[in-house]
Symmetry: C2
Subunit: 149 residues, 2 copies
DNA sequence: AATAGATTGTTGACATCGCAACAATCGAGG
DNA sequence: CCTCGATTGTTGCGATGTCAACAATCTATT
């Protein structure tokens, strides 16, 4: 494959993701949420009932755990999550949704699903599957690279 | 198209872009660059010889012009760019590459090209073209959405 | 049991980002 | 020529992100 096409493809991936994030922010904003906070909400709403540690959240969000501190701080202040002590390990908090958090999730999740439906409306199923396969290959290629000297 | 597939697809776009950014940061870091700074370098290196205004840079980077202030500040301090006065308009600076900036670009650009080549190595040309088409459709879908209410 | 080595969450320094408000400047219409 | 609306770059605030360093705590090994 020639290189110009590769450049165009990687650029398209980046700008498409950027557009998604931008539009997502606009959607969540009316509910006082940011994209990162929506992701936390989503993880907690579909995860184990007793919540998750900040470390787990960081891993699943693919961010450093130091980020999770402030993220949870702000969501706790907003009343959507709570830090419960872990009975097994005194180093960790179990971050859990509050009733208000669950309520917010039930409002926002359908909205997001609707946006996803609209964004992907113009695609056939086979196109979607083929694109998924390509994206996975791209990710493997990026990870496989491993920083040569 | 069913919605689970749509969710998977949008998530794949976001995580793939995230991986690219992460690996890109690792690459640029050894040269003291960030991804945003690499983009500025690229725009200036391939753009008009008398440089670009901060407004133009912001438009092309798809970021608010207030971001460009700090970005150019740091690159100016590093000696890679310079703010020249615009002879036509006293409000604007023409941001230009310095000799050091051009030197840096000549080091970093081939590296980046090599990474792109490697990341896209596993793809056929037809796959790449099909994926490009899908990504464009996704972007149109996101932009077309236009915040109901 | 005691110690050495991981792990967890926090903090501080720095770089992007968006948004809103400002002063300086431009440009068009009277 | 002069005023009024638009544009440019800057600044301040808040959110997200990385990385490095720390204290508290776990865990495994002796």
């Amino acid at each position: 494959m020639e290189n110009d096409l590769g450049h165009e493809l990687t650029r398209a991936v980046l700008t498409t993701a950027d557009t998604f994030l931008r539009e997502g922010q606009r959607l969540f904003r009316r509910h006082g949420l940011t994209a990162a906070q929506y992701n936390v909400l989503s993880l907690l709403a579909t995860g184990p009932a007793d919540g998750m540690s900040q470390r787990e959240l960081g891993d699943l969000l693919v961010v450093d755990r130091s980020n999770v501190t402030g993220l949870v701080d702000r969501m706790e202040k907003a009343g959507w999550v709570r830090r419960a002590d872990d009975p097994q390990d005194r180093r960790v908090y179990r971050v859990q949704l509050t009733a208000a958090g669950r309520r917010l999730w039930s409002e926002v999740a359908p909205l997001y699903a609707q946006v996803v439906a609209q964004v992907t409306a113009a695609l056939s199923e086979s196109q979607a599957r083929a694109t998924l396969k390509v994206l996975h290959k791209l990710q493997e290629g990026a990870v496989a690279w491993e920083l040569p000297e």
